[in-house]
């Protein structure tokens, strides 16, 4: 009886350990998730450059806005502040893109610095993981009529949500890690 109890306890503990192990993200897994998250951020950067470009047709810009919106979790917001004010102005992602498209410059050039920083992933109460990717963007806008040039460099801290999901392929259940973008903090830098 005692032996059976020990065997049962052993099985229970090993099952529990397996569950815990599944919930942890190994360094190798983290690296794979980082790459996936960076791909999404790269896509976002590409879309922002297209939306902001004056050469982009209205219909094309709208199509790209749809694609860009799909990268984000529902309800995601952009929080924007400038050097002059520490206050944050909040925009829904779509509204932020629309404002970007409506900028009154004849020429707009959006480029990115070759540096990014990816945080650790922390688990939130619902079991999903959350992280932040930081990138830097340079914006240059020229107005031919007024001859005005505007240039700024912004730091973008982009929330990423990481979640384990399941899909059925040929009758088999395959688990995979999915990444969605969340709120973005946009800060003007002194660079």
């Amino acid at each position: 009886m005692k032996n059976k109890f020990i065997l049962f306890l052993g099985l229970f503990l090993s099952a529990s350990l397996t569950v815990v192990a599944q919930d942890n993200i190994s360094p190798a897994r983290k690296q794979a998730i980082d790459s996936l998250a960076l791909e999404k951020v790269k896509d976002l950067s590409k879309y922002i450059a297209i939306i902001g470009s004056k050469e982009t047709q209205f219909s094309e810009a709208n199509r790209v806005m749809d694609r860009a919106e799909e990268l984000f979790a529902p309800g995601a917001e952009m929080g924007v502040s400038s050097i002059n004010t520490s206050e944050i102005a909040y925009y829904k992602v779509r509204r932020y893109f629309e404002r970007l498209m409506a900028l009154n410059y004849d020429r707009v050039n959006i480029t990115w610095y070759d540096i990014q920083y990816i945080s650790d992933l922390e688990r939130q109460p619902d079991g999903r993981y959350v992280g932040v990717i930081t990138i830097y963007q340079r914006f240059e806008g020229t107005s031919i009529e007024t001859g005005m040039n505007y240039r700024d460099t912004t730091k973008k801290d982009i929330t990423i949500y990481v979640e384990k999901k399941q899909t059925q392929i040929a009758g088999r259940t395959i688990e995979f890690w999915d990444v969605m973008l969340g709120d973005v903090r946009v800060t003007e830098t002194s660079a």
Binding site: T111, D114, Q116, D120, P125, S190
Partner: protein, 279 residues
């Protein structure tokens, strides 16, 4: 040992030259080192403080990696984690702190999930139509499967003078035989007095957070914006430091230590009381 170092150096060289690591690929702007030097996230402050990432921040070190929490790496990082332009931390105090943290016998590390650090968040609300500054003291706590930030205290000036309980002769009271009259004299406390707090126990302390939440539920308070964030750390035994974000030109930027205090007996409680009460 030398072979390990060579392999490590070679590995770093390969990693750093992997194409496609950057955001935009061709056409990206080369950082002149300022953004790389900047402590870009508080997460990076933790990692640098603990010596858990490479100098360029591209490689995360884990337990078992040869450079994980390496003292020499940490020393280099700790020196750049201070605001060297505006803070008045003396070089000697800074060196004492670094020596304490890097103690061979008992080195100190920061831990994201452990208690002993707080966020002080400056915000602006509209209170009954008027814009007011509100400071929230926040901390990390475990919750179900993970962690969450929670509001631990609120500092809201309009509440501060609401409960100035009088002391001494100016304090009104309910006499000790009030019970014999069925407390009929409560009328004095609630109708005739503008200071009903006079009739509370000596131990009474107003709970500003509950009042704040109540006012919000009554739609008297509406959130507007966040205007500033800083962090208070008590995780290093015998020391307190404050971390602020510095957005300025140069290489000494990002999240940096702006205030450092060696704690004597009772100092921690005094500083915590100051943070929580802002008196």
């Amino acid at each position: 040992m030398r072979l390990t170092f060579l392999i490590f150096a070679f590995f770093i060289a390969i990693i750093s030259s992997v194409p496609g690591q950057g955001i935009g690929g061709p056409g990206t702007i080369k950082d002149d080192g300022r953004f790389a030097a900047s402590t870009k996230q508080l997460n990076q402050f933790f990692r640098r403080f603990n010596g858990e990432e490479s100098v360029d921040g591209n490689i995360r070190f884990y337990p078992g990696d040869s450079l994980y929490q390496n003292p020499a790496l940490r020393k280099g990082f700790l020196n750049i984690l201070f605001d060297n332009q505006t803070s008045s931390i003396s070089p000697q105090l800074k060196q004492d702190f670094i020596s304490h943290v890097l103690s061979q016998a008992y080195p100190f590390y920061l831990n994201f999930q452990r208690e002993g650090w707080y966020a002080e968040v400056d915000t602006e609300f509209f209170f009954k139509g008027k814009r007011e500054k509100v400071t929230l003291i926040m901390k990390i706590q475990p919750e179900r499967l993970g962690f969450e930030w929670v509001i631990d205290q609120v500092i809201f000036p309009p509440f501060k003078n609401l409960f100035n309980k009088p002391v001494g002769e100016s304090k009104d009271f309910l006499h000790p035989l009030s019970h014999e009259l069925g407390f009929m004299n409560l009328r004095r406390a609630f109708q005739d007095s503008n200071l009903p707090e006079s009739f509370t126990a000596s131990s009474y302390k107003p709970d500003y957070l509950s009042i704040f939440l109540y006012e919000m539920k009554q739609n008297n308070l509406r959130f507007d914006t966040v205007s500033g964030v800083k962090f208070h750390f008590f995780q290093i035994g015998g020391w307190y430091f404050e971390v602020n974000q510095f957005n300025r030109p140069g290489f000494n930027t990002g999240w940096l230590i702006s205030n450092l205090v060696r704690l004597g007996p009772g100092d921690k409680e005094t500083i915590l009381k100051y943070i929580y009460d802002q008196d």
